[in-house]
Amino acid sequence: MDNYELPDAMGHYGPYGGRFVAETLIPALDELNQAYQEAQADPEFRAELHSELRQFVGRPNPLYHAERISRRLGGAQIYLKREDLNHTGAHKINNAVGQALLARRMGKKRVIAETGAGQHGVATATVATRYGMECLVYMGEEDIQRQSSNVFRMRLLGAQVAAVSSGTRTLKDALNEALRDWVTHVDNTFYVIGTVAGPHPYPAMVRDFHRVIGDEARAQCLELTGRLPDVCVACVGGGSNAIGLFYPFINDQSVRLIGVEAGGLGLGTGQHAAPLTTGRPGVLHGNRTYLMEDEDGQILPTHSISAGLDYPGVGPEHAYLKDIGRAEYVSATDQEALQAFHELCRTEGIIPALESSHALAHAFAIAPGMRSDQTIIVNLSGRGDKDIHTVAALEGIHL
């Protein structure tokens, strides 16, 4: 592949993507698409985004050579892209800043968002405050209970958090509710979608705001090792951190791209969140992609130890990259992720998010089979402070 240029004008990645929403939203999506195209072409917008990423987010973050763990595994050199060092502790802020700047440019005074683990909600609440906008975050009741500290953080930042009690009361239902809000307040409201899913132009726009991860990692890798990496690994829920890392490498044939889905209790149990590895194409939340659905096309409940991966769909570009074989998709179970979580804590002095621990688990599994002059970049998409309650509870410790 040397001339990858997707999506097309209708937002399609091969058969995936597109716009599958109620008619009322189509003009809003057209307006957004146009505003985004104009902003992207405007040097002033790009300069402001760049400056915000430097001054407010703390970019560029390091590509860190995890020497101790590489030595211990006895194979490839593992480098961690430190998105966990961003302001608010995860990659989500890259996109939140981009979309909030766009919202301001479009004159929207109110932003809404959906959130699962709460990282995107916190990022959106943060930028809404930073740019003086009203902010409402939809969150499933189930997730509100699992992630109470992030709920509190959002409220500290001045956002309102709305509990969603429909369906499975998790991320997918929060997304439905945010779409309902947007359809109702489409004139004054900007919907900040947190992943590379949703109707066009969201998957492309969110990717573009996250490609800074891969752009930096590519340059840093060349600088540190003198060559491109052999493998890039990232966890995939909706797939925003993964596409952010992968995208700038798509035309580099020699670089293997591996997305790691949430294997939950094991793919055989049905208790997981791995649509790319086990699902089939369908339509949900405005785009065509791989889904976890039953034989009647009803969306299935998902399970993952990490709330951020607990989603039955995935960004349409990943669906396409899978089909054309440019990226590979595998899974890691809750147990494997937990083991990698502890390993990184004890070897490198870094507490990773449980989401990112899925990517680490796979990297640790393949590194020993590689040569020591080979390189794996793992996207450390977030820090694990938000997960210490979950991990402690598994060990019978109540914090």
């Binding site: 599958f20 008619e23 189509i26 439905n176 779409l179 969306i299």
Partner: protein, 271 residues
């Protein structure tokens, strides 16, 4: 002539709008749907809109969301919905039946299979809420080939180019979403809605139904003055949800539809 075309032709003669009530298939019970369809037809519904439940009904408000959840909880499947239409058709050959739902369950069945089974069961039109005309060219063709009308939505926000696409691809009628919002929400600016629908009736060469936000006889009467059809959904679904058994549901539906039917009898002030 299709049942929908026959219905609109007949109502054109009387110069009045059609009343189209909506119920969710399988709610308030699995056994209620067919008796309810008959009750609606007998008490003055000109056509029936039957909701195909989906796990993620993003364009629906709380009433229809919950009805869908309850129906899925009872094990409703697409094949059952089609079977109920077939059963209804055994004793009612004239009242048009329109299915309304979301794309994914239809794709899971296979669009070609669905179109064929729907036609065979006696379905007249299909509204797929999350299928816009741009994405739905193939699906429209499959439905049309089986004699089922693909019915598209237009909204207050739809521009001229979209109206043109709907005109090209849609058939049966066009469903005008009266408000910026979800089913069951409140609409206050009816003069604006009726003005826009008046324009669309001229431009489209297709009948235009108005839905979303129509909850009582007074509003039905008002909307009926400027549209080809009036759809009432959430208000009926809410009443049915409270019924303790099928008999009560049938009675409730009859009373409510009878009241609404009176509101569409007056000839339209405009053609």
């Amino acid at each position: 002539m299709s049942r929908l075309a026959a219905m609109f032709a007949q109502l054109q003669q009387k110069n009045r709008a059609a009343l189209i009530p909506f119920i969710t298939a399988g709610d308030p019970s699995l056994t209620a749907t067919v008796p309810l369809m008959h009750a609606l037809a007998e008490s003055g519904a000109d056509a029936i809109e039957l909701g195909m439940p989906f796990s993620d009904p993003m364009a629906d408000g709380p009433s229809i969301q919950r009805a869908s959840e309850r129906a899925l909880g009872r094990g409703v499947k697409l094949r059952m919905v089609l079977e109920w239409v077939r059963e209804f058709r055994r004793s009612n050959q004239q009242t048009p039946v329109i299915l309304m739902g979301y794309l994914n369950p239809l794709e899971a069945m296979g669009m070609a299979t669905f179109a064929e089974l729907a036609a065979g069961a006696g379905v007249d039109g299909v509204i797929i809420v999350d299928l816009t005309p741009e994405e739905g060219r193939e699906e429209s063709a499959l439905l049309k080939a089986c004699g089922v009308d693909p019915i598209f939505l237009l909204a207050p926000t739809s521009g001229a180019a979209r109206v043109q696409t709907v005109r090209e691809l849609g058939s049966g009628f066009v469903y005008y979403v009266s408000l910026r919002g979800i089913t069951g929400a409140a609409q206050s600016d009816w003069p604006e809605v009726l003005k826009r629908v008046g324009e669309l009736r001229q431009e489209l060469a297709l009948p235009v139904a108005i839905g979303f936000g129509i909850r009582d006889a007074e509003t039905v009467a008002r909307v009926a003055q400027g549209a080809d059809a009036v759809v009432v959904g959430s208000a009926l679904v809410e009443q049915l949800a409270d019924c303790r058994d099928d008999q009560a549901a049938v009675l409730t539906a009859k009373n409510f539809i009878h009241e609404l039917a009176g509101a569409v009898q007056k000839p339209r002030s405009v053609q």
